[in-house]
């Protein structure tokens, strides 16, 4: 347990290159760069503080969601720059697309000394630990294990669509879990968090990932 955080931008690239659908982050050094990326990917966008030191960005105000136009982007960018010295001087600011609302799930992998790689899956968001609605399987898993994991969640009804969100394509989530299991079997790391995994219909997108390396 422990070790160091992989650069979050690199972590996303890594999952993307493995074929996962990832909401990519673009590191930007200046507000002008942020605006130019935002124009390319289209508003609304999200600004994040990409740090290798902080564990949970939201807790330190390091995530600004739903930025609708260039004026707001400029303002928020400077605000993040202002708090950066108090959080992590080396943190980078990234811009990414604001995903349409979806069901927020959580997936993780831990490399345990006794059990080896174990896959976690549950209801995501910033309160994932509070609810603890998470289920576990030893890597590798099969489709049947993945389907059982969905059924084991207390909050599984969230997958049927709730409060105007479209229902989640369960087969796609099963696909995702099986791919994550294969990835976990191959890659070398000690902990991995995908939170949130945003699911909307048959879209299953990694919105944020954290990888803790060994040693």
């Amino acid at each position: 347990m422990g070790g160091r955080l992989l650069d979050p931008v690199v972590a996303k690239e890594m999952l993307s290159s493995w074929g996962f659908s990832v909401n990519r982050s673009y590191p930007v050094e200046s507000a002008e760069k942020a605006i130019s990326y935002a124009r390319q990917i289209g508003f609304p966008v999200v600004l994040k503080m990409a740090s290798m030191k902080i564990a949970h960005k939201t807790d330190v105000g390091g995530v600004v969601l739903n930025i609708r136009d260039e004026g707001e982007l400029l303002k928020r960018f400077h605000e993040l720059e202002d708090v950066r010295p108090f959080v992590d001087q080396e943190a980078r600011i990234t811009v990414e697309k604001m995903l349409p609302p979806g069901v927020e799930l959580f997936a993780g992998v831990v490399d345990d000394e006794s059990y080896g790689k174990v896959l976690l899956f549950g209801v995501g968001g910033i309160f994932v630990e509070l609810y603890g609605d998470v289920t576990y399987r030893l890597v590798p898993i099969g489709r049947r294990d993945a389907a059982e994991m969905l059924d084991e969640l207390r909050g599984r009804k969230i997958l049927d669509g709730i409060r105007g969100l479209p229902s989640v394509n369960r087969g796609k989530v099963v696909d995702f879990l099986c791919s994550l299991s294969s990835f976990a079997g191959e890659a070398d790391f000690s902990e991995l968090d995908i939170n949130p995994l945003i699911c909307r219909g048959s879209e299953v997108v990694v919105a944020d990932v954290r990888i803790v390396l060994k040693g």
Binding site: G108, S114, Y115, G116, G122, Y136, L138, E191, V212
Partner: protein, 456 residues
């Protein structure tokens, strides 16, 4: 490994004729259980016990002793094992306490010495800090607690436990339930042999059909999982020592949410086995494993008492079982027996004013025949004069289960002594409460691909 459980020549070290000597109980148990092998007894002074010599000198140990049972003070154990293994003995049951379980100073040292000795000489060693094994078919028994009162009923369930006390308790429970055991293993500190070795052995053991395992820890989670997955028999695991704290400070949600207990639970489920967290569920699960498994969630409940029918129906709902409507033919059949004819036969069925054991058997036969139902729970309080028909009832239910390969969980109500007597017949598993009868049906779903027939 086989010979560890079925030895022909056994040495017991730590025996004397003094009143408080525990070692002599080991000998007494084997005599009581009719063990037919040869016994060689050793102690700190020469004496005689049960007509057998207790020797002091190890140099005369026959080289072909299969198992050496050691119950001497911890500090002497490494030298005893050293002496016997030098004479060619390869299998040991070390029952002495006073090793790593004390967690301090010399006791850790003794255990390290023992481990090194076992590793160097390739010894198979059970314990230390255990009561060892019982083989119900040969009478080979190493517990130093008397088994005379409990007795050892021969059956098809192997009991493996990380605690001698829990192992003995399960031995008693399975005995009084009329089920019995095939093998009994108290693992102790698991210095050499651990759950993985025992599971692998029992998987191949022709006398064992169901395994009941009490565990407080696993030596290696991944090996345990791989082994458990390979076991082709139902395994019921009673897991103790579950209150592990999660890591409070972590760099990831994953680490914060991870406990070994969750991993253990996942491993057991993934391996297609069963994990329970209390003694009565463990016993009821074992009883369920002896029945043909439920192949679908649709069941029927029959009860002489309306209240118990309701309780069982609630339990069925909570356990995810369905109570489908009865077929017209079944409804007609029941109606033909109702005297007042005012009740509507619905599932759960209140047997109402039908007081006829053969009618009940008729109903159950019909339900077993219908594809709609996977199994039946039958709640029955017997009237005084009906107890004499008990054997007929039990054998008939057993025959129905064998014919249709579907389970009937019989919940028998009456005085404790009557029910105990019924269980002791060993004709079929009998349950105490409506909830237990339904629980047993529901858990056998897990093993539906594994075994087809009655195993008692």
């Amino acid at each position: 490994m086989d010979r560890l459980f079925s030895p022909k020549k056994v040495a017991v070290v730590g025996v004397s004729d003094s009143e408080d000597n525990l070692g002599k109980n080991i000998v007494r148990n084997m005599l009581f259980l009719g063990y037919r092998g040869e016994l060689f007894l050793y102690g700190s002074r020469e004496c005689e016990i049960f007509g057998m010599r207790v020797e002091r000198d190890f140099s005369e140990v026959p080289p072909d002793v299969d198992v050496c049972v050691v119950l001497t003070p911890a500090r002497t154990v490494p030298s005893v094992v050293e002496a016997f293994s030098s004479r060619g003995v390869r299998r040991f049951v070390v029952e002495s306490g006073g090793f790593s379980e004390l967690g301090k100073g010399e006791s850790i040292q003794y255990e390290a010495e023992l481990r090194e000795l076992a590793r160097e000489r390739g010894l198979l060693l059970i314990g230390p800090n255990c009561i060892g094994v019982v083989n119900a078919s040969t009478g080979f028994a190493t517990p130093f607690v008397s088994l005379e009162e409990t007795g050892v009923r021969k059956g098809k369930v192997a009991v493996v436990a990380q605690s001698g006390g829990v192992a003995i308790q399960y031995l008693e429970f399975l005995s009084s339930e009329g089920i019995g055991i095939s093998k009994f293993i108290s693992m102790g500190n698991k210095l050499v042999l651990n759950e993985v070795d025992y599971l692998s052995h029992l998987n191949e053991d022709a006398e064992t059909e169901v395994i009941l395992l009490y565990l407080e820890s696993v030596e290696n989670g991944r090996k345990f999982y791989e082994c458990l997955k390979g076991v082709k028999k139902p395994v019921v695991i009673h897991k103790g020592n579950v209150s592990e704290l999660s890591r409070k400070i972590a760099m990831s949600h994953t680490a914060a949410l991870s406990t070994r207990e969750e991993f253990f639970r996942a491993a057991v489920k993934q391996a297609g086995k069963m994990c329970v967290y209390n003694t009565s569920e463990a016993v009821n699960s074992v009883k369920a494993c002896l029945l043909p498994p439920l192949k679908k969630r649709d069941v029927a409940i029959l009860s002489r008492s309306g209240g118990h029918a309701v309780i069982a129906a609630d339990a069925a709902g909570a356990r995810g079982l369905n109570l489908p409507d009865f077929s017209d033919r079944f409804v007609e059949l029941v109606r033909s027996y109702y005297r007042a004819g005012v009740m509507e036969p619905v599932n759960p069925l209140d047997l109402g004013d039908i007081f006829d054991l053969d009618a009940y058997l008729d109903f159950i036969r019909r339900l077993m025949f219908e594809d709609e139902f996977g199994g039946v729970s039958f709640i029955l309080g017997l009237f005084e004069k009906e107890w004499e028909k008990l054997d007929h009832l039990l054998y008939s239910l057993r025959a129905l289960m064998e014919e249709f390969e579907k389970p009937v969980t019989l919940v028998l109500q009456g005085s404790r002594s009557r029910v105990l007597e019924a269980k002791q017949k060993g004709i079929l598993p009998i349950f105490d409460t409506p909830e237990e009868g339904v629980f047993a049906l529901s858990i056998s779903l897990r093993f539906k691909d594994m075994f087809p027939t009655l195993r008692l």
